[in-house]
């Protein structure tokens, strides 16, 4: 299973979304996590942990697949 990754630029703005599961990727985008969204990680999570993130003034719990949480990379 491939890794899921959301790449952020230095201002914590989403630059790239690579989610292994296409259905989950579409749903994440429908929730408003699109390119250009400012995202903040709340729980400083690492690999294989459920993430707590804030974007568009709302708090979300995100886990994208069985093997991994979601890696937030600061480019």
């Amino acid at each position: 299973m491939s890794l899921s990754e959301v790449k952020l630029n230095t201002d914590c703005v989403v630059k790239e979304i690579n989610i292994a599961d296409e259905k989950t990727k579409i749903r994440l985008m429908e929730l408003g996590l699109i390119l250009g969204t400012k995202l903040r990680v709340e729980n400083k999570s690492v690999l294989k942990q459920t993430m707590l993130v804030v974007f568009n003034s709302s708090v979300f719990t995100i886990k994208t697949d069985v093997a991994n949480g979601i890696i937030i990379n600061y480019a």
Partner: protein
């Protein structure tokens, strides 16, 4: 009759609005996915019938879970009106669904709820500016009344510029009409071949991006947002979101509540209720019967068949109310989402995900209701697994049995026996989830996308309404199912094969039949015909177990029943060992007939049969281990557990081998 659908994102207040408009008391909560099925009510307005429908929440017309599918189908099939309920705090995301409806030319009006909360945090919405794009108004879902204003819809044309660009791009590759492509972009792929479907799906990320760019251009002029505002975040989260604190805190609060409900205030309230019931209802009718009726069986029929059924079960009404009070506080506060987040990592290891915690918690109230909630899982195997483990969670209908039987044999230790039964049920549910995940129901996609609701102050009035609704439901159940089945049980236990009345229960039809099955239960110490009767009747509903025991032992009050259970001369009696075995069996076998019916609807005939067989097997084996261990000591328990462990490992190994064999031969994966 015309139809009015209430649609919108999860947890925006659709059911609250439905309750206000229709004067209903449907279940609400501060959690994503409380409503999982369509609920409707006919309301008359100026001589015209309106069928108002509350739908499960959905974020988009591309469904992600089973309950979203239900809503999507209802919206696409509705020819009449739609009200889109939006939360002021998440208007941007809520407008995404509105834009999809606009694309499909679906007629709707926006109702913005929770505006006072939004405004309190220094945010605002310019509604007249929003009305340039959508027909929208601000409402308070709790105070709405169904009147003509709700039916005044303004059709506002919106130039969806982004859509034309996407359509043009797709039409270069696919020869279909605009409306067909728009329908496909919103999840209706009828008439599209796989290649065309892939082309459409490939355009979805760009379309979503374009939709949000369009929404942002609207939001810019409509919403003034405080920079520091984060919906769903609370200062308490710093403490609550630490797993050990949340986990220990929950267990401590839950078991303290059980103590409070069943051992501290509950008995006092029960005694008061019994006193009132006896004074107002049972004693006067009994006195009347003894003076008016000259036939003993008529007197016994009413006093034992009807009143003892009511008395022994209805006395648990205060406890049921207090238990629902606890669950409602948990639901309304916003704690469940936090528990789902905290528990997600642990539950993922068992093949579930954090959302399963809601199903488990609701199972503490009613297994049937929580089986329905398994719909809010996004993956089929996950949904089936949640539905299958749910019956092992101890529902409130089993509690009267625990309290009565345990207090007959364990005195001061009753509380610990009840807590132990709860923990045993949870443990077996989790082990079952793990085994299912390793064998026939491996989770394929275990994603969890959950929006955090804010922690809310408790609405005492709402909690009161929920508790009252559940109290009325419980009372109806007692007077309906418990009394009617109680009457049948009384007739069967007081009629012999010559169809004549008999006072000797051992000569009755019921005991004759139960006696034939009883030897099967000898290894678990439950080989008495009376106990077998109670277990059989218990499949209908667990409330019936206590009423059956009271009928067979001719006990008209709970204290009389408790003392009769310890007497060897009673038709139903236990030893300490058989009492434990009985309680474990009650905990683990089929909760009720309505649960079986809902299971069949949700997971199909095969998994329902599997569920029934596994529940009976697990109940029997666990009771066997407990019963024999009490009789033969801890060594027996250790050996039995090792044997069961080896059997489980063998099942997992064999299933994996069979799967591997299929994989090598069927070629499905290669395709």
């Amino acid at each position: 009759m015309r139809k009015l659908l209430l649609i919108g994102n999860p947890n925006v207040g659709k059911t609250t609005l439905f309750n206000s408009l229709t004067k209903s008391h449907e279940h609400t909560g501060n959690f994503h996915g409380v409503t999982v099925e369509e609920k409707g009510k006919l309301v008359n307005l100026d001589g015209e019938g309106w069928y108002i429908v509350d739908l499960p929440g959905l974020y988009s017309l591309l469904p992600f879970s089973f309950e979203e599918e239900i809503s999507k189908n209802a919206i696409l099939n509705n020819k009449d009106l739609n009200l889109v309920v939006c939360d002021a705090s998440s208007l941007r995301r809520n407008l995404y669904l509105c834009l999809q409806l606009k694309e499909l030319n679906i007629n709707f009006k926006i109702l913005i709820n929770n505006y006072s909360y939004f405004k309190k945090h220094n945010n605002s919405i310019n509604i007249s500016e929003l009305n340039r794009f959508f027909d929208a108004e601000i409402v308070d879902a709790k105070k709405c009344r169904f009147d003509k204003n709700f039916l005044k819809f303004k059709k506002i044309g919106l130039n969806l510029t982004y859509l034309a660009q996407i359509l043009a791009k797709i039409k270069e590759k696919i020869k279909k009409s605009d409306s067909e492509i728009i329908a496909a972009l919103n999840g209706n792929f009828a008439g599209f071949n796989p290649q065309e479907t892939d082309i459409i799906k490939a355009e979805l990320p760009a379309l979503i991006q374009a939709r949000y760019n369009f929404i942002d251009s609207i939001i810019k002029s409509v919403v003034v947002l405080n920079k520091n505002y984060v919906y769903g975040k609370s200062k308490l989260d710093k403490i609550l979101l630490k797993p050990p604190i949340m986990f220990a805190g929950f267990l401590a609060v839950f078991f303290a509540s059980i103590y409070f409900i069943f051992f501290l205030i509950g008995p006092f309230l029960s005694d008061t209720l019994v006193g009132i019931l006896n004074f107002l209802l049972i004693s006067p009718i009994n006195n009347f019967l003894y003076s008016a009726a000259n036939n003993i069986w008529i007197i016994q029929f009413f006093s034992e068949g009807v009143f003892s059924s009511i008395n022994t079960v209805l006395t648990f009404l205060p406890q049921v109310c207090l238990l629902f009070l606890f669950l409602t506080i948990l639901e309304d506060s916003g704690l469940i989402s936090r528990m789902a987040y905290v528990m997600d990592d642990f539950l993922t290891k068992l093949g579930l995900n954090g959302k399963a915690i809601y199903i488990i918690l609701m199972g503490l109230g009613c297994n049937t209701m929580s089986t329905l909630i398994s719909r809010n899982m996004s993956e089929k195997n996950l949904k089936i697994k949640c539905a299958l483990i749910n019956p092992f969670v101890s529902c409130m209908a089993r509690l009267p049995v625990y309290v009565l039987v345990a207090s007959a044999f364990f005195g001061n230790l009753t509380y610990f026996v009840v807590v132990g039964l709860y923990l045993l049920g949870l443990l077996i549910a989790l082990i079952m989830a793990l085994i299912l995940n390793k064998t026939i129901l491996k989770t394929k996609s275990n994603n969890m996308l959950l929006e955090f609701p804010p922690l809310r102050n408790l609405d005492i009035k709402h909690i009161g309404v929920v508790v009252k609704t559940n109290a009325v439901d419980f009372t109806k159940r007692v007077f309906g199912v418990v009394v009617s089945v109680g009457v049948i049980v009384w007739i069967l236990t007081h009629t012999n094969f010559k169809f004549a009345y008999t006072q000797q229960i051992s000569e009755s039809i019921m005991f004759f039949l139960a006696d034939k099955i009883a030897p099967l239960f000898a290894p678990i110490g439950l080989n008495s015909a009376g106990v077998v009767c109670a277990l059989i009747v218990g499949i209908m509903a667990k409330e019936l177990v206590v009423s059956t025991l009271s009928i067979t032992n001719n006990a008209q009050t709970n204290s009389a029943l408790i003392s009769s259970l310890t007497l060897a001369a009673s038709p139903v009696h236990f030893t300490s060992a058989s009492a434990v075995s009985f309680l474990v069996f009650i905990l683990l076998y089929c909760p009720c007939i309505s649960n079986i019916a809902v299971l069949r609807k949700e997971v199909g005939g095969f998994y329902t049969a599997f569920s029934i067989v596994s529940q009976l097997t697990i109940a029997y084996l666990t009771s066997f281990v407990f019963y024999q261990s009490i009789l033969h000591g801890i060594k027996f328990a250790a050996i039995a557990l090792i044997i069961i462990f080896v059997i489980l490992l063998s099942i997992i190994y064999l299933t994996k081998r069979i799967k591997q064999h299929k994989c090598l031969t069927c070629n499905k994966c290669k395709r």
